[in-house]
Amino acid sequence: MRDSRMRDRRHAGFLALAAAVLLAASGGALRAQEHAGQYEQADIEFGARLYADNCSACHGTEGDAIAGVSLRSGTFSNASSDAELQAVIANGLPDTAMPPGEYTEAELSGLVAFIRTMGDVDPATLTVGDAGRGEAVFLGKGDCLSCHRVAGRGSRSAPDLTDIGAVRSAGALERSLLDPTGSMLPVNRPVRAVTRDGRELSGRRLNEDTFTVQLIDQNERLVSLEKADLQEYTVLTTSPMPSYEDELSEQELSDLLAYLLSLQGVD
């Protein structure tokens, strides 16, 4: 399933990537992709944009402008694992010109994904989404505000996305758009409850303990329930969010992703 999706997208020209990278990106299970060795297209693309803005002035577009440092080579004198690479990028290298930078987790994942695949990818061939056009898709065709909320606008029934670009990697966001159920995080699982007197509630769980559960119900109200008063309490594993894989074009998805990544919270 995932493999064929990836291939379709290559045909559609969403990202023109070297076959080697595609195979690496499509080969792993969801969980494995969260760990070293597997990089998702969306992360590479996001990283490419960040690299162009923050790193290429010193390291060059090819990653080899500094003598003795070749970011595209895949071997580093100051890091071997992805975690170490992230640490170098975040903290800089003391007593050298390599500066520290304030990057979110998502940005660090993107930068590492890009650097790790630089040797295989020609950065010039990466198509990058446009956040402005993405916002239009978000408000219009995607109708995302009918469920989600951003900075005080929209519905409260689905997770608030005001800072989603700061807390999720590009790859994770892309998976949410294409396969909402498959990528649903346990904390986002919708719940359904039926009280003893037959009242049905569905909603988003805010908190739960051994005896009680707190949620936002279908009417956007805060409700606190005693489990002992319920005849049914189910945590659902299918997402009410539709997949946008066939709804939106590759360019629209790419733009939407750029917009989601720009959502960094309110200052």
Partner: protein, 549 residues
């Protein structure tokens, strides 16, 4: 001059009224004979956290009401267990203030304030687990690795001894254990490449009497269980109070993880005495026996749990001196505490890092492939949360993390040791996407931690077999200790902020109240003027309950 003499007279009058006789070494040895007091971290040298008080029973526990509250001026977790000596409570306010209060009313007599060195760098919170007492002197181990003696009457310092060097990562969170005329403590710092030790200090002077390195030096047996120079920075810290068997004159201590935590390839060998229990001669600190739970540990499975000492009758009617141990590695163990011989052991939660234990108790390790989930995860099947043994029911009770795993990622290259810097050798990742990742081990925002990550539980085991007798499952995890009483009431808490009373014999939930904060300490019980009290801390507040008048 005259005035100060008069004042002294008044003071000493008050003292005789307020304080009982001095806490002698004999009283500590026989703590069970004065159940109205709580004289050591775990209530007695056997560390059963079992109170012989029985006024609060399964049938009246419903009548518990809040008697008083002490709000610590501290934002750190309240992990201390108070001591109570003849109506006076002594408790620490994290990191290192000591407070003396009226145990019946909560009114404060004095506060000793200590500001630890800014050089101190504990890995996991500037917490403190409480004080020890001998005579009328209190002892506190500090986060900057000092041992301080205080006058229990005035709260004024008597001596201060440097136990370790804080800038090198040495710290102390442990409640000291007083044995005879010595104060025994151990050092934390297993994430900083320390070389751990347990040391005893003269209670009168603060002079060091003996020191036992938890990693043997060159020429000592066990040094060859560390490849090359890795023993120098191997961690093996000590951060939880040990136990003592006066008849055997052995003191037992649980030892922490080897360092760097997650890269066993950098320290090949069994790495003694990391993740072990050691039995030391209390007079000399000499090693009598050891038992290692997790050789060459790649998971940070500290054996930093409370050694629970019990005398248990076996099937053939023999009474055996045992040590009961629910380990962070997910296995429960019963050991012969005279010799260290393994008696029995079995997992109490899902375990996949080992398929079982061999006849000697050594795990048969089954490391998971890279990227796969290891059970239990980095916080373990249990941890420093005090268990309890109730001789009445014959059951052993522990706080467990069930169905909880982690993905371990060792570094590909050896990590260079830098004094005072973290020395980790990799990282553990949450097994569930979106779950709180180390080092943010606590739940943080509500609903960051769901049933998918695992669940907390109180588990009652039959120590003869390790079989489960009853279990109470919680939605969130628990970091609370457990107290049992002679009337078979079991008190505990959890991360959800509930404080519970169960029937210790069958696990029936008898009573609960919400304290609105994580219960991090072990509940304890004491009596003043015929009234039994139960104390538990949640968040940074100590709550004391008693029966309605």
């Amino acid at each position: 001059m005259a005035r100060s003499v008069a004042l002294t007279c008044v003071l000493s009058l008050l003292l005789t009224a307020g304080l009982g006789a001095q806490v002698t070494a004999d009283r500590l040895r026989n703590a069970e004979s004065e159940p109205h007091n709580w004289l050591t971290y775990s209530g007695s040298y056997a560390s059963t956290r079992h109170s012989l008080l029985d006024q609060i029973t399964p049938s009246n526990v419903d009548d518990l009401e809040l008697k008083w509250v002490f709000q610590a001026r501290s934002l750190e977790n309240f992990t201390a267990t108070p001591l109570v000596v003849d109506g006076i409570m002594y408790v620490t306010q994290a990191p290192n203030d000591v407070v003396a209060l009226d145990a019946a009313t909560g009114r404060v007599f004095w506060v000793y304030e200590y500001t630890p060195s800014p050089e101190s760098r504990p890995c996991c919170g500037r917490v403190n687990r409480g004080v020890g007492i001998l005579g009328d002197t209190l002892f506190m181990a500090t986060i900057d690795a000092q041992l301080i003696a205080l006058d229990a009457v005035t709260g004024r310092p008597i001596w201060k001894t440097a136990v370790g060097e804080p800038s090198q990562g040495y710290a102390m969170t442990v409640a000291p254990l007083v044995i005879d005329d010595k104060v025994v403590v151990g050092v934390a710092g297993g994430e900083y490449g320390i070389r751990g030790y347990i040391a005893a200090y003269d209670a009168a002077t603060g002079d060091e009497v003996w020191r036992f390195y938890t990693i043997p030096g060159p020429g000592e047996p066990g040094n060859d269980t560390w490849a090359g120079d890795s023993w120098r920075y191997g961690g093996a810290s000590v951060w939880l109070t040990g136990s003592y068997d006066p008849e055997l004159n052995l003191t037992y201590w649980g030892i922490g993880n080897p360092g760097p935590d997650w890269n066993p390839a950098q320290r090949r060998g069994d790495n003694l005495y990391s993740d072990s229990v050691v039995a030391l001669d209390a007079d000399t600190g000499e090693l009598r026996w050891y038992f290692q739970f997790t050789p060459n540990d790649p998971y940070d499975y500290d054996a930093v749990q409370i050694p629970v000492l019990a005398d248990i009758e076996t099937a053939d009617g023999q009474v055996v001196k045992v040590m009961l141990w629910a380990n962070r590695n997910g296995f429960f163990y019963a050991l012969d505490r005279t010799t260290g011989r393994f008696i029995n052991g079995r997992p109490f939660v899902t375990v996949n890092w080992a398929e079982g234990l061999d006849d000697s108790g050594r795990p048969i390790q089954t490391p998971q492939a890279p990227g796969e989930v290891t059970y239990p995860g980095v916080q373990g099947g249990t941890n420093w949360y005090s268990p309890s043994y109730n001789p009445g029911t014959g059951l052993f009770y522990l706080s467990a993390w069930e169905n909880y795993g982690a993905i371990f990622e060792p570094s590909s290259e050896p990590e260079e040791y830098r004094p005072g810097q973290l020395f980790l050798g990799g990282r553990p990742m949450p097994a569930i996407p979106g779950a709180a990742a180390p080092p943010a081990l606590t739940r943080g925002h509500v609903n960051r931690w769901t049933e998918a990550v695992g669940n907390g539980a109180v588990i009652a085991l039959d120590p003869r077999t390790g079989e489960q007798r009853w279990k109470f499952e919680m939605t969130d995890m628990t970091t609370s200790g457990i107290l049992t009483t002679a009337s078979d009431v079991l008190f505990t808490g959890g991360r959800e902020g509930y404080f519970y009373a169960f029937d210790a014999s069958d696990g029936e939930l008898l009573w609960r109240t919400t304290l609105g904060g994580v219960v991090h300490n072990g509940p304890m019980s004491y009596q003043v003027d015929d009234a039994q009290y139960v104390a538990a801390a949640a968040g940074n507040v100590l709550f004391v309950f008693g029966l309605r008048d």
